[in-house]
Symmetry: C2
Subunit: 327 residues, 2 copies
């Protein structure tokens, strides 16, 4: 295992220390590294809280700040954070207007966020994201997995919260964005969890995993390496077939951590051409490493259908470590 | 070779097509993919032009836009762009106030930009960056290599140009920032050039290349893998020893393309602690993949000493594909 680390047991805390040191104008750390929170809260605003296993950076801590999340709870690598982390975060960022939890659909996350909601006694709604069209049930889920579309939900709901929307409307908007969003991924290599010290899965020099999950979970099938156009064709067909919609969309090509920008933009080009066949026009674009799987090579394609409401909040100002515009 | 591509001969053009499709609000493409230029020029502003071999994305095209570059000329992967590319770009973006070329110190780049300057007949100054402290002369250079510090020069000079500084002042500022900047890199794996189809260099499972160049060129020496703290200690000592300065600085931890954000932030934490020993305080921070080497794992550390002038233009608004704040 080749990683820039000191000790496998301190990877998360040392990385979080670096993160808040680098972005101290935007975020601060909760005690015992339980959560990353927005430095300055906005009283009367519904607080947005997310979290999940680490290893997907910048998700979620990189999206804490104006126009997105108020707090993020990082679990150990690919491990759900605990309810006491979420309760501590909720206590720190609730200014009285209630809280919205944004949770990726994995059993551990859903269970722990639900326990935190019950135990905290606060006014909390939950949006569960399940945008991955690759598989119906999987290693860690009942139903579909929540993947890169989660970041789109966080951006859209975050902007609406900043504008003063109430908890009920935000819950409805979050569910609506999730329903308008589909993703699918492909892996060329495995990731390596630091504590495991070896690749999560074996994959041949000429193979790729179509429909891979963001923890390196199996996808639809193992196939021979194909061209970017062929990969985009299959992924976009799965996404567009499931969306069953035409019109303007956000096209988000997400790197898993070890794929160069050059390839991600080439995939954007390929995906855009495929979307045209399905009557979908990428009126908004996002390309980069936003929802990663440690050092996995590969990418995912996410499409969110845009109506006027979603497009407007997507464009609204955001100021976080990993996403910043208009401010 | 595992890459998301169609045909090795079209990687650059297809990637550029995707880039301008995704960022059509900021950039447009010159004919025959010769350059990427700012969509809207600012008449009377000195035009900033950079370029170099591709494979370092987002450098340079990702830094075209308000507050940074006016145009970038992409060569083939790790290959200098040609003078006719630079002349075409200069013709497209010169609004009469002259042009500043920002060139990384590699023999091919320096020679081609110099030929373009002579042939174009326009009013042109050149800033050559050579921030890499690892080696004095190297595979492709006489003198030090220009690496991640180039991006700092582009940001600082770009902001000053936006504010109306004239060509002579910009040349002086660029040289000053370059003198205030030092970098050093480490590679854990090789990169693979698409057209070559195999890794640029061989490296053992327990080895790393200290002082590696951004094309995978040899650095100071091949050593056994060490901890992040030990790596940061050696790199910061080399940088700080060469800078021979104390006070506020920008600390920029740059990923080479295949290293996860989690590790980059951990390295930021380690580098910050080392800088304190040398009396350098990271008053500004930047962490991410900005000056990459295709799919190489590893990172570089860049330190730019800040005075009031440099800090102010660093903080100034920027709106490019890869760097955006304040707008």
């Amino acid at each position: 295992m080749k990683k820039l680390i000191n000790d496998v047991s301190n990877v998360l805390t040392e990385s979080l220390d670096g993160f808040v040191a680098a972005h101290g104008d935007i975020v601060m750390l909760g005690e015992e590294h339980k959560f990353v929170r927005r430095k300055v809260l906005k009283p009367g605003k519904v607080a947005l809280l997310s979290g999940g296993g680490s290893g997907h950076e910048p998700l979620h801590a990189g999206f804490v700040g104006h126009g997105m999340l108020d707090a993020a709870c990082p679990g150990q690598v690919f491990t759900s954070p605990t309810p006491d982390q979420m309760i501590a975060a909720a206590d720190a960022v609730d200014t009285g207007a209630g809280l919205l939890f944004i949770v990726k659909n994995y059993e551990g996350d859903v269970m722990n966020f639900d326990m935190a909601r019950e135990m905290s006694g606060r006014d909390i709604e939950t949006v569960i994201t399940d945008d991955d069209v690759a598989v119906e049930n999987s290693l860690y889920t009942t139903g579909r997995r929540g993947v890169a579309g989660t970041m789109v939900v966080e951006k859209v709901v975050g902007a609406a919260a900043e504008r003063g929307a109430d908890l009920k409307s935000l819950k409805a908007l979050g569910d609506k964005v999730n329903r308008a969003t589909r993703s699918m991924g492909v892996a060329l290599t495995s990731c390596t969890v630091p504590a495991a010290g070896k690749p999560t899965f074996a994959i041949g020099e000429n193979e790729m995993e179509m429909g891979v999950g963001i923890h390196g979970e199996p996808g639809r099938r193992r196939v021979a390496l194909r061209t970017a156009n062929e990969i985009a064709e299959e992924m976009v067909a799965a996404i567009a077939g499931d969306l069953n919609a035409r019109g303007d969309a956000l096209l988000f090509v997400n790197g898993f951590g070890a794929t160069p920008a050059m390839e991600l933009y080439l995939m954007y080009n390929a995906a855009k051409a495929q979307l045209a066949k399905h009557g979908i026009n990428p009126a908004r674009a996002l390309v980069g490493n936003y929802v990663t799987s440690l050092d996995m090579a590969g990418c995912s394609i996410t499409v969110t259908m845009l109506d006027e409401e979603i497009a407007q909040v997507w464009d609204a100002p955001v100021h976080t470590a990993a996403l910043r515009w208009g401010l």
